[in-house]
């Protein structure tokens, strides 16, 4: 595709931004052309999010110029930039859950829409234009992530946006939902709308981005039409070093049965039973909402489930709450890092040590030197990038935060490690390190239950894969010998259990 032909809608020149102690952006220049999908890739902490937040007016830039649609923008607020035609769709979607779809699209503009009737009519029109069938009176809290995204896109369109920034839109989407999103992206493109597409998933970048910008450590490393990048080149430029493999070699020391789960029944789950062996990485594959997360939450005692049987090492155990799970040798890295994984007011050290508080307590006293040792040990062994262990956890990048949660459980050394989307929103380099950790846990005689929406990840890491569809286990596969599409069919409930 000819990328030089169309007009520049957004021009970023030499933009810098410093935070106390960190240079987040270091003279960044990017041109985005009209009607192009412009992919932006980079590891966590590369400066992508900072740049987007400057564009949308959340942060102020230190120096540099930004020209959007012919106008120089010096100081802006999120409100102004929306009205100017620059919309941003955040990963964690900004919708009011307790309000309806139509109300969300025209939030604060009901008067312009001549009341609620006009609001819903116009919302209907916008949703139809992107092929979304959802009722405008439905509450946002009842929608799936994918539909919520459609609502966000409609909202962006309602401002006559000329540029839509999508920050990792695919993280919580299933394959099918993803292809719908791609369709909409193509449609927006055809209308002359530009899209900045931020993603960690290289497949997507190569699938539909026209131009790709690679960022690293606050610098733009390269901007080229997609066709001129090879996959390896892109990865190398992102991480600044060559990565041999995306996945480590599978561990091969699967032993006897470690855990047996029998008959989990809830409103969403139907007779879920399975076994887990020593040294094994067991993958759970299914659509979002199929019951993967519910299954592991039930085992971990995070949700109230009764009547199922769990045996570990041949002995029956009762797990009604996470504390009992921890005592039985289970560890959980929950699905949503920000909501379920981190205590934000705590420091790095306190976040790491919080599950193993007994280890540095004597007769109820905290022994701070021991705690410091625990923090320092895991920061070192997991390669967590932080100035020191006393830093507030919120100052770390997503990958490093995730490593802190891993460290929290490594200190306890659970024999069964449940990881729910452990690499969500994490860059390639950090992913590989998490993979190595999983393998290490398995090889030391433990076992890992892995849930991930990234099919290649599950298939490449697991020794065995269970597919879940609509709360039922629909199949058990050896991912080394069974092709991915067969497994996917089972996960989609299309039969073919083996």
């Amino acid at each position: 595709m000819d990328t030089a032909g169309s007009q520049i809608i957004l021009s970023i020149r030499d933009v810098t931004k410093s935070f106390p102690g960190v240079r987040a952006l270091n003279g960044v220049s990017i041109d985005v052309r009209r009607g192009m999908v412009h992919g932006v890739v980079g590891e966590n902490g590369a400066g992508k999010s900072t740049l987007m937040k400057i564009l949308s007016g959340v942060y102020k830039k230190d120096t540099g110029t930004i020209v959007f649609d012919g106008k120089t923008i010096d100081h802006t607020t999120p409100y102004e930039s929306m009205h100017r035609g620059l919309a941003i769709i955040y990963q964690e979607l900004n919708l009011v859950n307790s309000m309806s779809v139509g109300e969300n699209i025209f939030l604060g503009r009901f008067k312009e829409m001549k009341g609620m009737r006009g609001t819903h009519a116009k919302a209907r029109e916008l949703l139809d234009s992107i092929g979304c069938k959802v009722s405008t009176t439905k509450l946002v809290s009842e929608l799936s992530v994918s539909t919520k995204q459609m609502v966000e896109i409609s909202k962006a369109l309602s401002f006559q946006s000329k540029l839509i920034i999508m920050d990792e839109p695919s993280t919580s989407l299933t394959g099918e939902e993803m292809s719908l999103l791609v369709k909409i992206i193509h449609q927006l493109k055809a209308q002359g709308i530009s899209i900045i597409y931020i993603s960690h998933k290289l497949e997507e970048i190569f699938d539909f981005c026209d131009v790709v910008t690679v960022m690293r450590d606050g610098n733009v490393i390269d901007t080229k039409p997609r066709g001129e990048f090879t996959r390896d080149e892109l990865i190398t430029k992102m991480v600044g070093r060559t990565i041999e493999n995306e996945y480590p070699e599978r561990s091969r020391q699967v032993g006897e049965t470690l855990m047996e789960v029998k008959g989990i029944n809830t409103r969403k789950l139907h007779d879920v039973s399975f076994t887990l062996r020593k040294g094994e990485i067991l993958g759970l594959v299914g659509l979002v909402g199929a019951g993967r997360t519910e299954t592991v939450r039930a085992i971990f005692g995070a949700d109230r489930v009764r009547g199922h049987k769990v045996t570990i090492g041949g002995k029956p155990v009762t797990i009604h709450n996470p504390k009992q799970a921890k005592d039985a040798g289970l560890g959980l890295i929950p699905e949503d890092r920000k909501l379920q994984g981190l205590v934000l007011p705590f420091s790095v050290e306190q976040n790491i040590s919080m599950a193993s508080i007994d280890r540095f307590t004597r007769f109820g006293f905290l022994i701070k030197s021991l705690e410091k040792g625990i923090g320092a040990r895991h920061v070192k062994s997991l390669g967590i990038k932080t100035p020191n262990t006393k830093v507030a956890i919120k100052n770390l990048s997503g990958g490093n935060q995730q490593k802190c949660i891993v460290g929290r459980w490594m200190e306890i050394g659970p024999s069964i490690f449940i990881m729910d989307e452990p690499t969500k929103g994490i860059d390639v380099g950090a992913k590989y390190e998490i993979y190595l950790l999983m393998k290490e846990i398995a090889e030391k005689g433990g076992a890992v239950i892995l849930i991930s929406s990234e099919l290649p990840e599950v298939l490449n890491m697991s020794n065995r894969v269970l597919t879940i569809y609509d709360g039922r286990i629909t199949g058990e596969f050896d991912p080394e010998h069974i092709p991915a599409d067969v497994i996917m069919r089972a996960a989609l409930g299309l039969g073919g259990a083996s």
Binding site: P322, K323, G341, L342, P345, I357
Partner: protein, 329 residues
């Protein structure tokens, strides 16, 4: 210098205390002399002690992400009980039972708030109201006088001296101040140096994360309300001893003042932040303000206005600096 700046931006209560002290110095003449007399300073500390004792327990509940507004009700019921029970049993036993009453109410609060997951602010407010009603029933809406000098001596006695304020003579330290100091040290230790304390910060910081980390969230949070109830009852017993009377009216504003002092000190209702030191400063600020205004002879309606202004100003300044900090990052 940097540290000093941080102290001032993070600890608004200290700024307010410093401002009040400066005003009292600037006032000069008799006002300064009276205010800074050892008698007045000790009296001020003495009259803040019960609020501080209540605040210690409340601080735990607030750090764990809750609050306790039933303390006013517990205070008056325990105060009245401590006197009335003495008619039936020896004094020490009566006092222990009066304090245990607070423990029991705290346990009940914990059941409602933590186990049944009700809204702590409203529920404890309701329990407090209920107990105030109970106190009026118990006392027949009249003050209940005590007639035991030993009982009165608990709060009014002095150690290391005779309590006489004469020139060149050390008056000693009031019992109440000593009790407060012991409680303060215990709570400061509890919160900073025990796993219980740390768990409270985790629970207040993020309840679910704490739960998923295998912390026994229900038991720990429940415990904060039990402790808070116990401390409120202890405060009630000490107050009755101090005034030699039990009455249902003493609790009227106490719960709000104490919770407010805790928050003004810097222990946010959001949970997971703050500490014992901060609460004590916040509560002492109120004692200081009251005393300064009395010495300055400010009419009571202006006193209320000033107090309200200080509360609003501190919380506003606090949010303002928080906001600035967020914008910087």
């Amino acid at each position: 210098m940097n540290n000093l700046y941080r102290l001032f931006t993070q600890q608004k209560a200290i700024v307010a205390i410093a401002v009040i002290l400066l005003v009292m110095v600037a006032a000069g003449g008799d006002v300064s002399r009276i205010f800074f007399s050892s008698y007045n300073l000790l009296d001020m500390l003495n009259s803040s002690t019960i609020l501080v004792i209540l605040g210690l327990g409340v601080t735990l509940t607030v750090i764990a992400g809750g609050c306790d507004l039933s303390i006013g009700g517990i205070l008056v019921v325990s105060g009245i009980l401590s006197i009335q029970l003495q008619n039936f049993m020896p004094m020490p036993l009566a006092l222990v039972l009066a304090v245990l009453f607070g423990t029991l109410v705290g346990f009940f609060n914990g059941f409602l708030v933590v186990q049944q997951k009700t809204e702590p602010f409203i529920i404890t407010l309701g329990v407090g109201l209920l107990l105030t009603g109970v106190a009026q029933q118990l006392s027949d809406a009249h003050p209940v006088p005590a007639n035991n000098p030993d009982f009165m001596n608990i709060s009014n006695g002095y150690q290391f001296g005779d309590g006489q304020f004469t020139e060149g003579h050390f008056p000693g330290i009031p019992n109440l101040v000593i009790i407060m100091l012991i409680c303060f040290v215990f709570f400061a230790w509890l919160i900073r140096y025990t796993s219980f304390g740390r768990n409270l910060y985790a629970i207040g910081g993020d309840y679910d994360v704490a739960r998923y980390s295998g912390i026994n969230v229900v038991a720990n949070k429940w415990m904060t309300l039990v402790i808070s109830g116990t401390m409120a009852a202890l405060g009630g017993v000490l107050l009755s001893s101090k005034l030699n009377t039990g009455s249902a009216i003493y609790g009227d504003f106490t719960a709000l003042v104490v919770n407010c002092g805790v928050v003004v000190g810097g222990t946010s209702f959001a949970g997971g932040v703050g500490g014992i030191w901060q609460s004590v400063l916040g509560l002492l600020l109120f004692g200081l303000l009251d005393n300064a205004m009395n010495v300055l002879n400010i009419p009571s309606w202006y006193q209320m206005m000033l107090k309200g202004t200080v509360i609003v100003a501190i919380l506003w300044m606090d949010s303002y600096t928080q906001k600035r900090k967020r914008e910087l990052v």
